[in-house]
């Protein structure tokens, strides 16, 4: 239950649990539309299924045509690739597979970390057209879940539904007259929170180095320039107008100075470091327990 009296529509998609909350129960037609958008997204971008568009690029060099939403994804990744000096890259998939986070979920490293190939060396991405000059493992996970949150919100708005919460297991977009209190999960104890934030007509996303950890020091947030996991930041939260930006920036905070990101994005942020201290921008002021 999000706001009192709201109805929830829950389902599994792109490897996570979704809950869409609305004042009225969603009509069947809207539910089908939502599930269709999720399936399309998965079939386009999943590196965990053989029939996806990105799986084709992993098999051999070539060009694939992505869905229309790929344009803004490209712009976002391009900007963050530049700001992070190559550390945040959609080409990090190969580095993840190397460390064991591949389609077979072996979760065993195949060897020493490998850097992601450089975008300018292997990839030409212009909106919906993406070409690789060598087999590449694209992983748009850093912004993909957030973008899908936005796409589902667009389905709701298209159906005339203006009040909702789209929650992809902690990455969420809120639209309602009343703000929503959301707990910030303690990075080391899921039964605790370290604060509560008021979310109102915007997106809140989180990223943690240890969400999908599978080996000694191996987790899914990698520095694409070295192929190694990043160790100093344990969790980040962001608020922005869109879930796609909030999601991507939550990852970017692991490798880029927040002030650099603030120069190019309108967002709020909170970082918790492995020594337990936190740093945050104005939007998160007063949210942490003391």
């Amino acid at each position: 239950m999000t706001h009192t009296g709201w109805s929830d529509f829950s389902f599994d998609g792109i490897g996570t649990r979704w809950e869409i909350s609305t004042p009225e129960e969603l009509p069947d037609g809207v539910r089908l539309s939502l599930l269709g958008v999720v399936e399309d997204y998965d079939r386009s971008y999943s590196r965990f299924r053989n029939d996806s568009l990105v799986a084709a690029l992993a098999r051999e060099p070539g060009t694939v045509t992505l869905p229309a939403s790929a344009g803004e994804l490209e712009q976002l990744f391009r900007k963050l690739y530049r700001l992070s000096n190559g550390a945040m890259t959609p080409l990090v998939g190969g580095s993840l597979e190397r460390l064991g986070y591949g389609a077979d979920y072996a979760l065993r490293p195949l060897g020493d970390p490998v850097p992601a190939p450089r975008w300018e060396d292997v990839l030409v991405w212009r909106g919906t057209a993406i070409s690789a000059s060598a087999p590449v493992v694209l992983d748009i996970g850093a912004a993909g879940k957030g973008q899908l949150v936005d796409l589902l919100a667009a389905v709701l708005r298209g159906a005339g539904i203006t009040e909702f919460l789209v929650d992809a297991s902690g990455d969420m977009l809120h639209s309602a007259a009343e703000p929503l209190g959301v707990a910030l999960e303690h990075p080391y104890d899921p039964s605790q929170a370290i604060g509560v934030v008021e979310l109102h007509n915007g997106a809140l996303c989180a990223s943690a180095a240890n969400r999908r950890a599978w080996g000694d020091g191996l987790h899914h947030v990698l520095d694409g320039a070295t192929g190694r996991p990043i160790e100093t930041v344990v969790a980040t939260w962001t608020m922005a107008a869109t879930a796609m930006e909030a999601d991507a920036l939550a990852t970017a905070l692991f490798m880029v100075d927040p002030t650099v990101l603030e120069g190019e994005f309108d967002f709020s942020w909170l970082k918790v470091y492995s020594d337990g201290h936190a740093a945050y921008s104005a939007g998160f002021e007063g949210t942490l327990f003391s």
């Binding site: 605790q192 240890n210 939260w237 740093a279 327990f289």
Partner: protein, 139 residues
């Protein structure tokens, strides 16, 4: 994952089905909040089960304890405890509790009046494994 699960199954009685989707919901299964989701195949025996799951954080190996109460094919309670068996985590958790300036402080979720949680569960991996163990042994 290199360390096998330590198994410590406690009780057993009759009839239940425990879902992998339950594991997926772990981050929102707050403390001992009743967890109603339950889909997959059973039957499993009623009772309270506990298992430890090992996982690896950037600090190294950790262990999480998961206790599930199963009744009538549903999970009626979930309880998660983090065993701070890694010295780095002990130190880290200590720092959390000391409340030094610029240190984050944790509060139990059930003491906070919110319906949503944003974060990333450190324990999902260990939790999933522990649930798998329980599923196989509660049959």
């Amino acid at each position: 994952m290199t360390t096998p699960l330590r198994k410590s199954l406690l009780v057993g009685a009759a009839g239940l089905s425990l879902a992998s989707s339950v594991a997926a919901c772990a981050p929102s299964a707050q403390g001992s909040t009743p967890q109603k989701t339950s889909t997959v195949s059973g039957p499993y025996k009623d009772g309270t089960y506990s298992a430890d799951g090992d996982y690896f954080s950037p600090n190294g190996g950790e262990t999480v304890g998961v206790q599930l109460t199963l009744a009538g094919d549903t999970i009626s309670a979930v309880d998660i405890t983090v065993h701070a068996n890694n010295p780095n985590t002990k130190e880290f958790q200590g720092q959390f509790k000391n409340g030094i300036a610029a240190q984050v402080v944790g509060k139990k979720l059930d003491e906070i009046n919110v319906s949503k949680v944003a974060g990333s569960s450190l324990t999902s991996e260990g939790f999933n494994k522990a649930v798998e163990t329980i599923k196989s042994e509660a049959k």
